[in-house]
């Protein structure tokens, strides 16, 4: 491991972080939808 290819590493970090951000956004949207679909308190 003499020295890393910094540019390649940063480009791959971008791909990994962007994928993780998408997953987080999707999970947040899913959670918001679940909250919106839940019956309000006191509703029959």
């Amino acid at each position: 491991m003499i020295g890393p290819d910094f540019e390649k590493g940063l480009a791959q970090l971008n791909v990994a972080a962007a994928a993780e951000a998408k997953k987080t956004d999707a999970a947040a949207a899913e959670a918001a939808k679940a909250v919106g679909d839940a019956p309000e308190a006191g509703a029959p």
Partner: protein
């Protein structure tokens, strides 16, 4: 007469051969001394810095680096040797996390330790190479928010030993 010719025929080329061999050895010695001098003249320290904008918030970009278990997804070293053996020890992530690796001659053997971890801002690592030759470097990652995501800066610095100086010439 024939005897004299035979002696001269054998003696003259032998003399030339020795003289030529001596000249070649002198040239090689001079080249080696010049090369050693050139290596010795290289800087005693090195520093490499690269930056890129990552399309994710700082907290997410930070998390990819702060946890060694996630390095396989992006580290350029992992691809140099797909059968590289890795061991995780110490803290699960952040300060105190340790990553040992052993692989082919492209990756060698070494250890990384997270020394400082400031969530969403910076990570400092100690990078110890054991094989092919021992050396230590400090690696720093910083994360700064940008409109398009996060500016990640990756810096590696350390002392330049003889082998490091020699590799610097290549």
């Amino acid at each position: 007469m024939h005897e004299i010719h035979r002696v001269l025929d054998g003696a003259v080329p032998r003399c030339y051969t020795r003289a030529m061999l001596r000249k070649i050895l002198v040239v090689i010695a001079v080249l080696v001394v010049l090369l050693l001098g050139l290596v010795a003249m290289q800087p005693n320290t090195f520093a490499v810095t690269r930056s890129a904008v990552v399309s994710a918030p700082p907290a997410i970009a930070f998390a990819q680096v702060n946890d060694f278990h996630r390095w396989a997804a992006w580290s350029p070293w992992a691809q140099l040797d797909p059968s590289m053996k890795t061991t995780f020890s110490g803290a699960p992530a952040g300060e105190g996390a340790i990553y040992d690796w052993t692989g082919n001659d492209k990756v060698g053997r070494g250890r990384m330790t997270i020394l400082v971890s400031r969530p969403g801002e910076a990570i400092d690592l100690r990078l110890e190479f054991i094989e092919p030759f021992p050396s230590t470097a400090l690696t720093q990652f910083t994360f700064a928010p940008e409109s398009a995501g996060t500016k990640v800066t990756w810096k590696m610095s350390g002392d330049n030993g003889f082998m490091g100086k020699a590799f610097g010439l290549v």
